[in-house]
């Protein structure tokens, strides 16, 4: 099967039931996408599958056949850059481990809704755990990125 990762087409001929996460991490050596729970409970592994936020730890390779995946390594464009800029301006990450997933989830939110209210942010980000507790800064950075964009 073929799958496009951050714009580059890749071949995959292995176990179709393997989650996308391990294709990225083990085979492509792209370790920006993180493992936090393996059960779609924490959001650390969030990627975009054809633009939709997707938990790579539970999504099998079969579901990626012929489709396009964006990971943190390929997060760019005006939304991606605005978010990364806001993340740095507000010194958001503590340990940083959850932040790939937070950024990918936040990018989906802003793609769908360029000026989210607090309730929209809560709803979109509820499944992304940060054990360091950077939630207040993530919220502020999403708003900053949204303002910078609008």
């Amino acid at each position: 099967m073929k799958v496009t990762i951050n714009g580059a087409e890749r071949e995959f001929s292995g176990d179709q039931s393997m989650p996308i996460l391990w294709f990225l991490r083990d085979e492509l050596q792209m370790t920006g996408t993180k493992f936090g729970c393996g059960k779609a409970l924490c959001g650390a592994c969030t990627v975009h599958l054809d633009g939709q936020p997707t938990r790579a730890c539970v999504t099998p390779m079969a579901a990626a056949n012929g489709r396009s995946i964006t990971t943190i390594e390929g997060l760019d464009g005006s939304v991606g850059e605005a978010l990364k800029g806001a993340w740095k301006a507000l010194n958001v990450p503590q340990c940083g481990y959850c932040q790939s997933g937070q950024l990918m989830q936040a990018a989906s939110l802003l793609n769908d809704n360029p000026s989210p209210e607090d309730a929209d942010i809560d709803q979109a980000m509820a499944g992304n755990i940060c054990r360091c507790g950077t939630y207040p800064r993530i919220r502020a950075a999403i708003k900053m990125a949204a303002e910078g964009k609008s």
Binding site: K88, P93, G96, Y97, P136
Partner: protein, 744 residues
């Protein structure tokens, strides 16, 4: 560390910087110089290349507290190196650096002075080298931002041009090295952004899970579900049939004490993570669970409570609290319980080992490279010098990663397999096979006089001790744990008796962000609020009354052993004035007396831990169904001298939210097996549950630096339950706080 140790340390570190300055230019001479100075050590904190590149070594583990930034701030400031151009080198585990165990909130409090000295020494040597080159007095040579200038003539030389000559100079005595005065600080005390921001936001940062190398094998392990359980029978045929599975290895059964050793069980080694996980799922293992299969949380909690109701060993005594209470007209008593917790760092434990030719190299997300080195050496029968421990970034740690068991597993498997092996823990592994925060029960009784003053306080604490992990016979908490918010009770109550009960450990008990302070502050600060209610007083005013006048508390005079976080009381007294100050400041910040909307209420708590004073106000709202939410959090912190105010803020934000997780999470066991396994049943704070903002007020102080990473956590849970009481009239004494609270 004693003063003597510190002095020796400084010497090693100073000769180290001399060596480092010349290391790449004149190694032979550098070694001689170092020898001459009475200590041969690897290059330590400062390295300057002839091209002018300044490297600063961070010897502490980065786990979200931004120590890689703050250490560079300190050294670069005194060195007068341009912060933005400094390269940060992460130190491997080596005693030459001094203590590297990144816990106990001591990276800054134990290193600020010695790192300033390291930077200042190198700077002085660069100035000396320039003075000799020009034949002028060193006092006419100024070093500013990587350049030494001869002020009268305006001549200047870059650090790179001076590095070789500076490295040939004798290392100046510590007392001849002048440190900057505070008003000269360029980086210390400034909010500087984290050095790893670009790496983190682009997905390039390397954590323990992310280590890559040629021919790397991946292992996951089926560990005994009950501590000290053993494999009765194993059928690995289905596992071995899975494509990618290379080997199935039975690890030696763990014998008590657990210490930092591998837990045992059955490892599946594979070419990929997915194959290893599938292989583990396919194992058929029958376990012999052993004695700890008797561990059931509800019964165990009952036994802790019964112990808490019986007289126990007195650890601090003032006056006659039991006598006063027995004859008092007004008595208040309460029992508080708190469950086990799991640190649950976002990145579960992970370690890579390459063992060959009598040497071992480890790459791990460890808080403690030195004990990793020692424990791995012990497990492999090697000398510590044969083991190299490289420290990756840590995806959170909170105490879990100061236990090197996962590196030991990787080392044993790499030796067995003859190949590099990375051991990954899944979330279930982390939650079910942890080093748990201790489960606890406490009972407090008090007497009030007719004016509502508390005249006696009698408090008993019961919990299985951390020491049981190291000595299964240990039944009583040690002075260390008693000193975490229990014997150091700051209240001015005239009669006080504090006691510790006994309890047996059935799981590995470990430390979690602020350790026993979590449950001790929960009980003490909840009860302070209960007393205020009984006295019909304002809770903040009553808390201040309990804290009493500004004074230094002398615990020894009341029979208490108190380690004071291993720092001297002369430098870091228990200062009730500073505690009261943060209470007043947080109340002002939160507009304590101001009106709140219907269903909203405030709760307050204050606690000294790791030599730092924190007061927290939590504002909650509770809807008509009893569903509660934290709306706002206010923190005032006095941590003495601080290096990076934005990092202090971040720790107050994150430490408060970690405190919220501590209030809603629980680990329980049935027949010795932990009931929870992942974030569906082990609850941690999510974004919708967390405050939109944590308002942080930092007390400006030139007192010695104190801890920052842990102190914001303990006051959160009591401030929360106190607020919930104000909002609902329901008192939560047994954690976890349920999602819905009955309103009375």
């Amino acid at each position: 560390m004693s003063t003597l140790d510190r002095r020796q340390f400084l010497k090693v570190s100073l000769s180290g910087s001399a060596f480092a300055l010349t290391a790449q230019l004149l190694p032979g001479r550098a070694l001689m110089a170092a020898d001459h100075e009475g200590g041969l050590s690897p290059s330590l904190f400062v390295n300057i290349d002839s091209d002018g590149t300044v490297s600063i070594t961070c010897h502490r583990s980065e786990m979200g507290q931004h120590v890689r930034t703050s250490i560079v701030q300190v050294v670069a400031d005194e060195l007068e190196a341009n912060f933005d151009d400094v390269q940060v080198i992460q130190a491997p585990g080596d005693p030459a650096y001094g203590d590297q165990n990144t816990d106990g909130s001591r990276s800054i409090r134990r290193n600020l002075t010695r790192l300033r000295q390291a930077g200042a020494t190198a700077r002085q040597m660069l100035r000396q080298a320039a003075a000799e080159r020009w034949g002028v007095d060193i006092r006419e040579c100024d070093a500013v931002q990587n350049v030494v200038t001869h002020t009268p003539s305006g001549r200047s030389l870059g650090y790179g041009e001076l590095a070789a000559a500076a490295g040939r100079l004798p290392v100046p005595e510590a007392d001849s090295v002048e440190l900057k005065s505070r008003d000269q600080w360029r980086y210390i005390g400034k909010a500087i952004k984290h050095v790893d921001l670009d790496a983190v936001t682009s997905g390039q940062a390397v954590f323990g899970f992310d280590v890559k190398m040629e021919n790397l094998h991946i292992a996951v392990i089926a560990r005994p579900p009950v501590l000290f359980g053993t494999v009765k029978s194993l059928d690995d045929s289905a596992a071995r049939a899975i494509p990618g599975v290379i080997n199935v290895v039975q690890l030696p059964a763990l014998q008590p004490p657990a210490v930092f050793n591998a837990l045992g069980g059955v490892a599946v080694i594979a070419t990929s993570t997915w194959a290893a996980m599938r292989g583990r799922d396919a194992l058929k293992i029958e376990w012999d669970h052993g004695d700890n299969a008797s561990y059931n949380s509800p019964e165990y909690m009952q036994s802790l409570l019964e112990t808490a109701r019986q007289p126990a060993e007195v650890v601090r005594q003032r006056g006659d609290a039991p006598g006063v209470i027995a004859s008092a007209a007004h008595k208040v008593s309460a029992e508080y319980t708190a469950p086990h917790l799991s640190q649950a760092p976002m990145e579960p434990p992970a370690a890579t080992a390459r063992v060959s030719d009598g040497k071992a190299e480890i790459w791990a997300c460890t808080q403690t490279p030195q004990s990793t080195r020692a424990t791995v050496a012990g497990a492999l029968g090697l000398e510590p010098e044969a083991v190299t421990v490289n420290v990756t970034l840590l995806g959170g740690a909170f105490g879990r990663k100061s236990k090197p068991d996962f590196s030991v597993e990787a080392a044993l498997l790499s030796r067995e397999q003859g190949a590099p092996v990375k051991v990954l823990w899944t979330r279930e592994d982390d939650i079910r096979n942890g080093y748990y925060h201790s489960v606890s029960a406490q009972r407090i009784e008090a007497a009030l006089d007719d004016e509502g003053n508390t005249t006696a306080w009698h408090h008993r604490t019961v919990f299985p001790t951390i020491f049981s992990t190291f000595n299964p016979a240990a039944m009583s908490p040690g002075a260390l744990e008693m000193g975490l918010g229990f014997v150091d009770n700051p209240f001015v109550v005239p009669n006080m008796q504090l006691e510790r009960g006994q309890a047996k450990g059935h799981v590995r008990i470990g430390w979690l962000r602020s350790v026993a302070n979590v449950y001790h502050a929960f009980a003490t600060q909840s009860f302070a609020h209960e007393l205020a209610v009984a006295a019909k007083a304002d809770p903040k005013d009553y808390l201040l009354k309990l804290i009493g006048p500004p004074r230094h508390i002398d615990l020894a005079a009341e029979g208490a052993e108190y380690p004071n976080y291993d720092d001297p009381l002369e430098a870091y007294p228990i200062d009730t004035g500073r505690l009261a100050n943060v209470v007043r400041r947080v109340a002002e910040q939160a507009d304590w007396s101001g009106k709140r909307a219907q269903g909203r209420a405030l709760g307050i708590a204050a606690h000294r831990s790791f030599l730092t004073y924190v007061a927290t106000i939590v504002e909650v709202s509770v809807d008509t169904d009893g569903r509660w939410k934290v709306d706002d959090v206010f923190v005032s912190i006095d941590a003495g001298t601080i290096v990076n105010p934005d990092d202090v803020r971040a720790q107050c934000e994150g430490g408060s939210i970690y405190g919220l997780s501590c209030a809603i999470g629980q680990i329980t066991a049935t027949n010795g097996v932990v009931d929870q396994g992942n974030f569906n049943d082990y609850k941690v704070a999510t974004m919708p549950q967390s405050p939109h903002q944590v308002h942080v007020d930092i007390v400006e102080s030139d007192a010695p630096p104190a801890g920052v990473g842990e102190p914001p956590t303990p006051p959160f849970a009591p401030a929360l339950v106190n607020a919930l009481y104000e909002a609902t009239g329901t008192r939560i004494r047994d954690l976890p706080v349920p999602p819905i609270i009955a309103t009375s």
